[in-house]
Symmetry: none
Subunit: 416 residues, 2 copies
């Protein structure tokens, strides 16, 4: 409903909007000083920006609910994450940098170990490394043959892989084959609906799995596959249409590029990422590069989504100091973004990843919104507890987009 | 939706959760010092706990809406009080400590005064005292006879009583007989639906009322009954199933024990309540007893609901000083609860009952949430205006449960 309303109210003008996402930004107070990562970090540029902005806290999905990357980002783009979703297989495709086409069924695959009777011994094949699973994926893709269907098998990470079935008339109502326990055989790919497309998909999957068993027969640990989350390409409203904005994404990681693409954004390449894409943690230099990419494309686009990954990775690793360092590097690079000449700039995260929790968490995420028309508050520090007192209040992430549009004077009055 | 979502995300582990409800906790600033009851009270233990917790304010139902005990508690247990309800008759049964069975129709009954022509003179029979209404209930239950139906009549308080009709095939679509005005006859029990069960219930009620008139004929004031809120036993999702928690309630008052039972909690007896249940206001000793009951049952349950009544009673009486004293007694007993070894502890109220208002009110209720993973704020006082600045923000009561589960690491990530 809010998305439909906003869509009705949007108007075009020549303002420039930018959403800077520091993945997993929010933290928890910890250590002797009982401060969060963002509080511990020296962030003169973010603090100065905060003092000229309205700040607050964003609740990604619902109080107490920890979002995955999909729901976390959908919220920031103004999509209710309880209404719109990116199914597992499609997200896996996005994460693998695989462009899922309209007729593709994307499936998350886990390499597993089965015994001679076919019973699952290890659902994750000892979590084999990507270097070992990648050649197996290649072998599977090269050798598996299903009449009338193209099969893609791509490595994701460790035991995780992506299987895509490309063919006319395939549908997604097929159950996982992962039995979710060991000591039993994988499940057959069974249809949950009664449409011909899903029946066809189940047959294709069955044939592919029988071949996979043969192809992997010589392997000691990764000698079978479990399939989960059969997904059609999600039909999400496209940001360009909904918001009348020409949108671009600057992101290093395939997952976020994939999500952006599903929403219709163009993908821009930062200089540092050209050629071989960096998969290692970003640095201050690469952040500056991303910001420069925005500057270069400023005239071509209305809205920029800039994604910074290493804050989340550090949080997941429980590395408080590294998360602090990454925040400081972003802060150091920030002037490059501020020079772009943006009308509306929002800085926040898709969720919290406190180092003290070593995982995504449910805690609200600090946010700042800067424009000529923001209601500046008296908060002069960009951090969790300081933002609590700001003009934005504590609101659901999905409202950030309408606020950004309003601040860009792109939303008409509602009602006479 | 939120309850369904949470239900899908819950996982089991061995954490212990406790919700301590000080009934009617919230107050209003009043008196020379212009402070609330909670601000006036010396609460060193609650303040220390607050300083290690995230605090905030809970809106029980909706801004401006004053909840009864049913909606107030449903919210705290994570049930949207606008979606789920406990109908009047069923709540009356809970309040009377009457266990409503699946085929029972529970009805709130008011003793009233009618003149010789049957017209209502006083809808509350001069608010006769419970000591007078109780024997009348006994007489009614003993003498009223309806073929194939068992009739229970139990005193509640003053002119209020409970009538329960037990028999196969009874339904609840029957109108109140209370005309809501004097000078007219009570209404006939008429069906609003067209099902045989409701028609049967209306007939039974008619027969019962005719007999009641005879049985009470000699009474001067309480010579008739008005019936309201014909209720089947509410079918509420059971907490054990929804949250995968084994739940126990420690409450002295029948109403709260009844609500807990309707949600599937086990009822525990505090030592001080064993034998004759205390119906007088609780004291610091009885609060300690309740907390000890939690300690004794710690290993058997995952979730404890502890209910403290006297704060509300004092507020209803407009007795500011007594409410302050009761809060201080709870504070004094608190260390006994803190010694239990809980992973997640929430302290709040089901609604406000400001002494200055002498009734339940709509004002948000102070709340604190303590766990290893709470986002401690810098609030060091547990009180209405101090909590306004806390990390919890001002949220609807129904989100407290998902936050408690999240803090117990019992909620899986939403979406990939």
């Amino acid at each position: 409903m809010p998305l439909e309303l906003i869509s009705k109210l949007v108007e075009k003008n020549d303002t420039k909007l930018c959403l800077l996402v520091l993945d997993g930004l929010g933290g928890l107070p910890s250590g002797e000083d009982c401060v969060t990562e963002l509080e511990a970090a020296a962030t003169p540029n973010l603090d100065e920006l905060a003092s000229m902005s309205e700040v607050g806290l964003l609740v990604p999905v619902m109080h107490g609910v920890t979002p995955g990357s999909g729901p976390g980002h959908l919220g920031l783009f103004g999509y209710d994450p309880l209404k719109y979703e990116i199914p597992r297989g499609a997200l896996e495709a996005a994460g693998a940098g695989f462009h899922q086409q309209e007729n593709d069924i994307a499936i998350r695959a886990n390499f597993c170990t089965v015994d001679e009777t076919g019973k699952v011994l290890d659902r994750r094949a000892g979590r084999i490394a990507t270097e070992k699973s990648a050649p197996l994926c290649e072998k599977l893709e090269k050798n598996a043959r299903v009449e009338g269907v193209e099969v893609f098998v791509r490595p994701v990470k460790d035991h995780r892989a992506l299987v895509v079935l490309r063919g006319d008339g395939l549908s997604n109502k097929v159950c996982d084959t992962d039995p979710q326990e060991t000591g039993v055989k994988p499940l057959e790919p069974q249809v949950t609906g009664d449409d011909p497309g899903s029946r066809r998909t189940a047959e294709v999957a069955k044939s592919f799995l029988a071949q996979a068993k043969e192809i992997l027969a010589e392997e000691r640990s990764a000698n079978m596959l479990l399939l989960r989350g059969f997904s059609e390409r999600p039909k999400l409203p496209q940001m360009g249409e909904v918001y009348k904005l020409k949108c671009a994404a600057v992101a290093q990681y395939p997952m976020y590029r994939g999500i952006a693409k599903l929403l219709g954004m163009d993908l821009l390449e930062a200089d540092s990422a050209k050629g071989a894409r960096a998969t290692s943690a970003g640095t201050g230099e690469s952040f500056k590069d991303e910001f420069r990419t925005v500057a270069e494309a400023r005239d071509e686009y209305d809205y920029f989504f800039v994604h910074i990954k290493p804050t989340d990775s550090a949080g997941e690793d429980g590395d408080f100091e590294r998360k602090v360092a990454k925040i400081e590097e972003v802060d150091g690079a920030l002037p490059t973004l501020l020079e772009v000449g943006l009308d509306v700039l929002a800085v926040t995260g898709d969720h919290s990843t406190p180092a003290a929790y070593k995982a995504h968490s449910w805690h609200p995420v600090p946010a700042l919104l800067h424009s000529e028309y923001c209601r500046q508050d008296k908060v002069t520090e960009f951090a969790e507890r300081a933002c609590r007192g700001g003009s934005l209040g504590m609101i659901e992430s999905r409202y950030l987009m309408s606020l950004m549009l309003a601040n860009a004077r792109r939303l008409a009055k509602y009602g006479a």
